[in-house]
C-alpha cells in the first residue's frame, strides 16, 4: 500500500518550530500502525483545535475535522461514539485545552472516552502572538501581561490523574522517536489517552535549551498501574521533567457503554 500522509498545503509554522517534529512523529506512528496492519488509513480521524498546533490537520492527508478553539474534545467524543471503529486523535494546545475548553478535558477523562488527546504544550498562546497560558510560569511578560503574569501555572498531568484518565503520558517534541513511541502506545490504548507534548515555541517562548537539559525518560521499572505512584511522580519537584507513561489502566470506555 502506498501511504501518502502529506497534503499540498504549504506549511506555515515558523521555520524550525518543533510542531514540525510532532508532525513527523505522528506520520511515523501512523505509518507503523498501518504497516503493522493495526490501522486502516480510512479509519483514522485527526482533529484539532485552533492555534499554531491546529494547523496540523491541513498537513495530514487523512480524515480530519479542524474544530473550534477549545472544542476539539467533545467533537472527538462525538466522532468516536458515532463510529467506534474509528481511531480518533486530537491535536490541541495549552490555551486551547487548558484555558478555553478545560471543562471538556476533565469530563472526557472522567467518562473515559476512547480518544487520544495530544497537547502541543508550548506554554504560550502562540498564534495570537504571545500571551500566558495556564502552564506559563508566573511572572512571564507577554502581550497581555507586560508587567509579568500574576497567576501560578497548574500541572495538567496531575489534573488528568485526578480526573480519571486511563493513560497519562508526557513526551518532548525534540525527541521524535520518543514522541512516536508514546503516540503509538496512546493510540493502541483503549480509553482516554492524554499525551502532554512539550513543544517549545521558538518565537514567543523559546524553552528548547531549558528542557533539553531537564527532560529524562522514566525507567522501565516505573509501575504504570499505580495511581498514587503516578501522582507522586508528577508532583515531584527538583527541576527535572519526567517523560514517559505515568499511568495506564483498563476501564470500560464511554463508547463501549453507550453502544452496549
Amino acid at each position: 500500500m502506498d501511504l501518502n500522509l502529506s497534503t499540498n498545503a504549504k506549511i506555515t509554522w515558523c521555520p524550525g518550530c518543533p510542531n514540525s517534529q510532532i508532525l513527523v512523529a505522528f506520520r511515523q506512528a501512523v505509518t507503523e500502525l498501518v504497516a503493522g496492519g493495526k490501522l486502516k488509513p480510512e479509519n483514522l480521524v485527526a482533529l484539532s483545535g485552533i492555534g499554531c498546533h491546529g494547523k496540523i490537520t491541513d498537513y495530514l492527508n487523512v480524515n480530519s475535522f479542524t474544530s473550534l478553539h477549545g472544542r476539539v474534545i467533545p467533537t472527538m467524543t462525538g466522532v468516536k461514539s458515532a463510529n467506534p471503529s474509528l481511531t480518533v486523535v486530537g491535536f490541541s494546545g495549552d490555551a486551547d485545552t487548558y484555558d478555553e475548553g478545560i471543562e471538556h478535558f476533565i469530563h472526557a477523562a472522567r467518562r473515559n472516552s476512547d480518544i487520544n488527546l495530544f497537547i502541543h504544550d508550548n506554554q504560550i498562546f502562540a498564534l495570537t502572538t504571545g500571551q500566558a497560558t495556564p502552564t506559563t510560569p508566573k511572572g512571564f511578560k507577554g502581550k497581555s501581561t507586560p508587567f509579568g503574569s500574576i497567576e501560578e501555572p497548574f500541572n495538567p498531568l496531575l489534573i488528568m490523574l485526578s480526573s480519571g484518565a486511563t493513560f497519562v503520558a508526557q513526551t518532548f517534541a525534540g525527541d521524535i522517536a520518543g514522541t512516536k513511541r508514546i503516540m503509538l502506545s496512546a493510540m493502541v490504548h483503549k480509553g482516554f489517552s492524554f499525551v502532554s507534548i512539550i513543544q517549545p515555541c521558538i518565537t514567543f517562548f523559546d524553552t528548547r535549551d531549558h528542557y533539553k537539559e531537564r527532560v529524562y525518560w522514566l525507567d522501565d521499572s516505573f509501575p504504570k498501574n499505580d495511581l498514587s505512584a503516578a501522582i507522586a511522580k508528577v508532583m515531584e519537584g527538583g527541576g527535572k521533567t519526567p517523560l514517559g507513561i505515568f499511568y495506564q489502566v483498563e476501564k470500560p470506555t464511554f463508547e463501549e457503554e453507550l453502544n452496549k
Binding site: 479509519n43 480524515n63 480530519s64 479542524t66 467533545p74 467533537t75 458515532a82 463510529n83 471538556h104 453507550l258
Partner: protein, 571 residues
C-alpha cells in the same frame, strides 16, 4: 367562523408540586381520547419541586378543540389554595372536588362542593400522598360518565413498572364514593368508547422527538433545560425502543460540539435546549454553517432574558435564532404551532438538514412543547431523505466540491480511499484552510446557493398556512404556539378573516407571504413578545407593514375568549 360551536367542558386540577397534577391531567386526556373526545390540555407550574401551585386544565368537546378555557365545569382541588385561586373561574353548575371546604367555600358552592375523603382512602391502603389524584380521577369518571375500565387500562399502561394496583384501587374507591352520592354533572357531553383510537393525546416535545425518530434520528444530545427537557426525558426512556442513543454531556457547548462530531462520522443527530442554552451554542452553530454539518437544534423558548421565568412561555427568541451564530450562512428555522406540526417540523428539519447539509432549528416555546392535545401523528408518512451520501469514492474525493445546488457529496470517515476533511476555517474544495480571495468568494456563494435550491422546495412544504376566509381583507398573521389559542378564539369571531401562519421563518417564503398580505385592508399581528419581531421580519422581507400588533410580553398565555374580544374590536 362564528358558526355553531359544539358543547365544550373544562376541568381544572390544582394542587402543589409533587401532587402529580400534570400526570392527572394527561391521564384524563388519554381517557377522553379513548371515548372520542378532542381535548386541549395546558399545565401551569412554578419553578420549584414541592409546594407552590400546579394547575392542569383540560377543555374537551366532540369537535376539534384548539385551546383550553379559563371557566371551569369541574375543579379538582388537591389543596385549599386551589379552591381559593379558582373559585372565581367556575361556570354555572360547576362541581368542585376537594377533601375539605371551609365555611366560605361551602357557602359559595352549596351542593356543588363535593368532599372526597382522599386522605382517609390512601391512609387505609397505606398509599403515598401523590396517589390522592387517582381517587379524584375515579370520582370524575363517575361524574362525567367516563369508563372507569379505561382509566384502569391507562394506569396499567403508565405504571407498568411501578405496580399500578394502588392507583387502580384508589380510582375505584373514588368512583364508588361518587356512585354512592349519585352525582352526575348536569352538562355531560355524549361520547362513546372507541376501540383503537387513531388519534393520540400528545405534547409538542414528544411529537417533535417522534418526528426526529421517524426521519431516522440516531443520537440525541442534550443538557437539561426547561421547557426542552421533556424531549430528553422522552427519548432517553425510549432509547431501546427506538434504537437510538441519548447523551447528556457536561454542558450545552459540549452537547453541540459532540453532535457535530457525530454528524461528521455519519450519524443523524439533534440537540435540544432552551434560549439560554442555545446562547451557549452560538459558536458551534456557526461552525455547523461553515463546515456544512447536518444538524437539528430544537430550541424551546421561555420567558427571558437570562434565567427569566423558567416555566413561563415567550416568543422572544425569533430574531435571536434567525441570526444565531457569528457570520452569515444558510439555515432553516421552522416554528410549529401544535403537536402535529411539531412532529412534521422534527421530521422535515432532520431530512432537510441532511439534504442541504446545514443546521436546522425547530423553534418551540413552553406552550407548544408542553401543552397536550388530541392529535394524529403518522410516522409512516415520513420518508427518510438521506441526502447526497457517497458510500464508495476514489482518492480524488473532495468534501467541499463546488456544485450548482450548493450541496457537495458527502462521504464519511471510514470509507476506503476517502479523505474527508471538515474545516472551521474558510477552506478550499478539499477542506484545506484558505486565505485566497477567489476561493473564499466561491465558498460563500456555494453555501448560499442552498437558499436558491431551497426556494424551489417551498412548494413541497407548508412554509405558510392559511385558515378562515382566503378572500377576506382582514388578515391576522402569527407564528408558533399562538396557533392554538387563536384558532380557538376564531370560533367567536364576528367577521370573517383570513389567518396567516408563517411556519418557515428562514428561508422566508417572501412570495407566499406577500401574496397573502397584499391587498389586505387590515393586518393584525399577534405575538408573545415585546418588540413585535414577526412584524419587523415581514416588513424587512416584503415591505408590508402590519396595521396592528397584539403583543403580550408578561409571560402569561393568551386566553381564547379575551383574544376573540380584542380582535372583534379591532376587525
Amino acid at each position: 367562523m362564528a358558526k355553531q360551536i359544539k358543547p365544550i367542558m373544562t376541568v381544572g386540577i390544582g394542587g402543589a408540586a409533587g401532587d402529580g397534577i400534570r400526570e392527572a391531567g394527561s391521564n384524563l386526556g388519554i381517557l377522553l381520547n379513548d371515548v372520542g373526545l378532542k381535548t386541549h390540555f395546558s399545565f401551569k407550574y412554578p419553578s420549584l419541586i414541592r409546594g407552590g401551585h400546579n394547575y392542569s386544565r383540560l377543555s374537551f368537546s366532540k369537535e376539534k378543540i384548539f385551546y383550553d378555557y379559563k371557566k371551569l365545569d369541574v375543579l379538582i382541588a388537591l389543596n385549599e389554595e386551589s379552591i381559593k385561586r379558582h373559585l372565581g373561574e367556575l361556570n354555572k353548575n360547576a362541581i368542585v372536588f376537594a377533601e375539605n371546604f371551609d365555611d366560605e367555600d361551602k357557602k359559595a358552592l352549596g351542593e356543588n362542593a363535593i368532599s372526597l375523603p382522599l386522605t382517609e382512602f390512601i391512609t387505609n391502603i397505606k398509599a403515598p400522598s401523590i396517589t390522592r389524584s387517582s381517587v379524584a380521577l375515579g370520582a370524575l369518571c363517575y361524574l362525567l360518565d367516563l369508563p372507569l375500565g379505561n382509566m384502569t387500562k391507562i394506569f396499567n399502561e403508565i405504571f407498568r413498572a411501578k405496580s399500578p394496583e394502588t392507583n387502580i384501587l384508589l380510582a375505584e374507591m373514588g368512583y364508588k364514593h361518587l356512585e354512592k352520592l349519585n352525582i352526575k354533572h348536569s352538562n355531560l357531553i355524549a361520547h362513546e368508547l372507541i376501540n383503537s383510537p387513531t388519534a393520540e393525546f400528545i405534547d409538542g416535545n414528544t411529537a417533535v422527538a417522534r418526528g426526529l425518530v421517524a426521519a431516522g434520528l440516531n443520537t440525541y444530545v442534550s443538557y437539561p433545560m426547561t421547557p426542552s427537557s421533556s424531549i430528553l426525558h422522552f427519548l432517553a426512556s425510549q432509547e431501546r425502543n427506538f434504537k437510538i442513543k441519548v447523551i447528556h454531556p457536561e454542558n450545552e457547548i459540549s452537547s453541540i460540539n459532540m453532535a457535530l462530531g457525530m454528524a461528521y462520522a455519519g450519524e443523524r443527530v439533534a440537540v435540544g435546549t432552551a434560549g439560554g442554552g442555545f446562547a451557549l451554542m452560538q459558536e458551534a452553530f456557526s461552525l455547523a454553517g461553515m463546515a456544512e454539518v447536518p444538524l437539528v437544534v430544537a430550541v424551546s423558548q421561555r420567558h427571558a432574558p437570562a434565567t427569566g421565568v423558567p416555566t413561563h412561555s415567550s416568543q422572544s427568541d425569533l430574531r435571536f435564532v434567525l441570526h444565531a451564530g457569528h457570520g452569515e450562512f444558510p439555515r432553516i428555522v421552522i416554528a410549529p404551532g401544535d403537536p402535529e406540526e411539531s412532529f412534521r417540523a422534527g421530521a422535515d428539519a432532520l431530512n432537510l438538514a441532511w439534504k442541504y447539509q446545514l443546521p436546522a432549528i425547530v423553534l418551540l416555546d413552553k406552550h407548544v412543547s408542553e401543552n397536550m392535545t388530541t392529535s394524529t401523528i403518522n410516522p409512516k408518512s415520513v420518508m427518510i431523505e438521506k441526502g447526497k451520501i457517497l458510500i464508495s469514492v476514489d482518492s480524488s474525493y473532495k468534501r467541499y466540491a463546488l456544485s450548482k445546488d450548493g450541496v457537495s457529496p458527502l462521504a464519511f470517515p471510514g470509507t476506503p480511499n476517502a479523505v474527508v476533511k471538515f474545516d472551521s476555517y474558510e477552506h478550499d474544495e478539499g477542506g484545506i484552510t484558505t486565505e485566497e480571495i477567489p476561493t473564499i468568494k466561491a465558498m460563500q456563494e456555494k453555501r448560499f446557493a442552498k437558499y436558491a435550491s431551497l426556494a424551489k422546495e417551498f412548494k413541497n412544504f407548508e412554509t405558510v398556512k392559511t385558515y378562515g376566509d382566503p378572500k377576506s381583507k382582514n388578515v391576522i398573521v402569527f407564528w408558533g404556539s399562538t396557533k392554538t389559542v387563536l384558532l380557538e378564539a376564531a370560533k367567536y369571531f364576528k367577521k370573517t378573516v383570513k389567518i396567516l401562519q408563517i411556519l418557515w421563518l428562514e428561508p422566508f417564503d417572501v412570495a407566499s407571504v406577500s401574496k397573502n398580505l397584499k391587498g389586505a385592508k387590515k393586518i393584525i399581528n399577534i405575538e408573545s413578545n415585546h418588540n413585535g419581531q414577526l412584524a419587523g421580519l415581514i416588513r424587512e422581507k416584503t415591505g408590508i407593514e402590519v396595521t396592528n400588533s397584539i403583543l403580550r410580553y408578561d409571560s402569561a398565555p393568551f386566553d381564547p375568549l379575551e383574544l376573540a374580544e380584542t380582535l372583534n374590536k379591532l376587525i
